[in-house]
Symmetry: C2
Subunit: 342 residues, 2 copies
C-alpha cells in the first residue's frame, strides 16, 4: 500500500473528501468535532500531503525578489552569480526569482525599490542592505502585506524580517583573530585592521569579535585602531603606507570588509623580509588568486551558493508555512586556506 491519500483520510474519518479538503486547507465551515476527527485520522494514518500535487492543482507560483546592492564589488558579484544559477535551476520548481539592484549605501533608494515591489505579485523578498529606518519601514510594509522577508548576509534584527540567512559575524571576527594569532611567528606582534565600509553592521561585529578573541587568547598581540580606505585605491595606498611607517613592526593585516583589491595592492610594496600574515573575508576571485599566490594566508567566508539556495528554501518554507531544517540552513563560517580551496 502506498502513501495514504485524502481519500483514505475521508474513509477512516467517516467524512467526505470535501470536508477533508476544508480541514486541510483551513477553510471555514467545519465543526470543531469534525475537525478533530479528521486530524485524528490524519495523524493515525501518517498522512503527509503531497505538496507537488497540491501545487500543481492550485497552479501555485513562488515569486521571490532579491534586493541586492548594485555597486561594484566582487563579493556582491559572486552572490549575483550564485543567484543566477539558482534562478535558472529553480525554474522547474515553480519558483521564479527577480533581482532588484539598488545603489549601495543609499537607504532611500533601497526603501523606494522595496516599496515599488507590487505586493500582490510577490510571495517573498530577500534583502541585502544595511539597516536604516527607511529600510525598516519598507520591511514592515512587506511583512504586513503577508510577504515573507529574509535578511541576507547582513542581519536586520530589529525589523520584521522572518529569518536571517548569513553567518554570525562576531564569530567570524573571532575566527579571524585566532588564525591571525596562531599564524604569527612570534608571540609579540602588531596587527593592522583595515575596514572598507560595506555593510556597517557586519564590519562592526567582526571587529568586536576580532578584538575580543585577540584580547582573550593573544594578549601580547597589539591590535592597532582600524584604518579606512573608502574604496579608493590611492587613498588606500596612502593610508597603508602611513600605517606601516608609523608601525614598522606590523606583522599582520586583517581586512574586515570584502573590497580587497585596493588593500592587496597597497600591502604588496610593504612586504619586507619579515613574514606578514594577511587574513580577509569573502572568497572572491581576487581573494582566491591571492590565496594561491600566497598574498593572503586565510580567508573567512561563507558559501554564497549555499547562502542563496538557503534563502530560497527559507522563503519557500515560509510561504508553505513549513518547518525549516535548522541544520541545513545554518550558514557555516568557512575557513579557506590555499590547501582547502574549493
Amino acid at each position: 500500500m502506498g502513501k495514504p491519500t485524502v481519500r483514505d483520510i475521508a474513509r477512516t474519518a467517516g467524512v467526505s473528501l470535501a470536508t477533508v479538503d476544508r480541514v486541510l486547507n483551513a477553510r471555514p465551515g467545519v465543526r470543531e468535532k469534525t475537525i478533530a476527527r479528521v486530524q485524528a485520522a490524519i495523524t493515525s494514518l501518517g498522512y503527509v500531503r503531497d505538496l507537488s500535487a497540491a501545487n500543481l492543482a492550485r497552479k501555485r507560483q513562488y515569486r521571490f525578489v532579491f534586493v541586492l546592492p548594485e555597486g561594484p564589488g566582487q563579493f556582491v558579484d559572486t552572490i549575483r552569480e550564485a543567484l543566477r544559477e539558482v534562478t535558472a535551476s529553480s525554474h522547474s520548481d515553480r519558483i521564479s526569482i527577480n533581482t532588484l539592484l539598488v545603489p549601495s549605501h543609499d537607504p532611500h533608494a533601497t526603501a523606494r525599490a522595496i516599496h515599488r515591489i507590487r505586493l500582490s505579485d510577490v510571495e517573498g523578498v530577500a534583502i541585502m542592505a544595511p539597516e536604516t529606518p527607511q529600510v525598516r519601514d519598507a520591511i514592515t510594509q512587506l511583512h504586513d502585506a503577508g510577504v515573507a522577508v529574509v535578511a541576507l548576509v547582513s542581519d536586520l534584527p530589529s525589523t520584521k524580517r522572518d529569518h536571517f540567512v548569513g553567518i554570525e559575524n562576531r564569530a567570524a571576527g573571532r575566527t579571524a583573530a585566532v588564525l591571525m594569532g596562531r599564524f604569527q611567528a612570534r608571540q609579540k606582534a602588531e596587527v593592522l585592521v583595515v575596514a572598507s565600509s560595506m555593510l556597517a553592521r557586519d564590519s562592526i561585529e567582526r571587529r568586536l569579535g576580532f578584538d575580543a578573541a585577540m584580547q582573550e587568547t593573544f594578549p601580547d598581540i597589539h591590535v592597532l585602531p582600524s584604518v579606512e580606505g573608502h574604496d579608493d585605491p590611492e587613498r588606500m595606498a596612502d593610508v597603508i603606507a602611513a600605517a606601516f611607517r608609523t608601525h614598522p613592526g606590523i606583522s599582520g593585516v586583517y581586512s574586515l570588509g570584502s573590497g580587497n583589491q585596493a588593500l592587496l595592492d597597497a600591502i604588496r610594496p610593504q612586504r619586507s623580509g619579515g613574514s606578514l600574515v594577511v587574513v580577509g573575508h569573502e572568497l572572491t576571485p581576487r581573494m582566491r588568486q591571492a590565496l594561491v599566490d600566497g598574498e593572503v594566508d586565510a580567508v573567512i567566508t561563507q558559501n554564497v551558493g549555499h547562502l542563496v539556495r538557503s534563502a530560497v528554501r527559507v522563503l519557500k518554507a515560509k510561504c508553505d508555512d513549513a518547518e525549516i531544517v535548522e541544520s541545513q540552513e545554518r550558514i557555516r563560517i568557512d575557513i579557506v586556506l590555499r590547501e582547502n580551496l574549493p
Copy 2:
C-alpha cells in the same frame, strides 16, 4: 502567459499530444523528421517538463538504500543521524530511504548485503565501504541492473559508481598539515601521526597529503612514522606513551582517522608544560567537546548533513538523468576551530 505545456508543443509542432509524449519519453514509433520538429518546438518555446506533474502521473517513487558500516564510531553515528533527518524530510518528495548496516571491515558481508538488495525495488544505492574486489563486483551488478550508485565518504574509483560524494582526502591531509605547521610555536618540531584504520583509502590519502604539504611548506618539521591504536584504548595508551618516551620533543599530534576517543584519552597524560598542537578529523560530539575544552586545536571535517543530502540529490538526479549542480554537490573541507564551531 504561463509556462508552455505539452499542448503548446503539439500545437506549434503541428503534431498530436501522443506524438509529443512519445518524443519526450523517448518511446519508439516516431520518424526522425517528426522528432526534430518536436524538438525544435520544445527549444523554441523554452519548454521545461514539469517534473512534479510527471512524477505524479507516473506514480514515481525514488527508493534509495544507504549501505553504512555498523560498528561503533561517532562519525558513522553522525552520518546515521543526518540520514535519519533527511529520511524524514524527504518523505514528501516521493523519496524513501532505507539504511542497511553492515559490519565494518567485512568486505564479504558488505557485498552480501548489496547482493541482497532487491534490484527491482530500488532506484539508487549509496555505499560507504572500503574498496575490495567483492564490493567492486557487487557494485558492478547494481550498475548493470540500472541502479544508480554513489560512493559515500570514501571513494570507490575503480568501480562503476556514478558519483563520489565526499571530500578529497589528499587535500584534507594537506590542510591538516598547514594548520599543524602554522600552529606550531617553533619552526623546528616533531609531529606524531596516529592512524586508526577506518577506511583504509581515506587514511592513506590524508597521510600522503599531510606528508607532502609538510615537506613543501615546513621542511623543519619532522613527521614521525605513524602509529596505530587499532581502536583499542589500552593499546592506544601504550603506543602513545611509548612514542612520547622515545620522542620527548613531540609538539604536535595528527589523528588521521575518526575514532578519536581513545587517542584523546591517551594524549592527556602526555601533556606537559609545552604546548601540544592536536589536529584531527570529523566533527563528532567528542571532537566538538575537545575543541571547546582546548584539547584539540583544529578539526578537519565535512558537513555530514550536506554529505547525505548531496548523496540523495545526486541519486535523484541520476534517476531523472538530470544535470548535477556541481557547485552544490562539491563537499567542502571544513576547518573547525573553537571559534567557528557550527
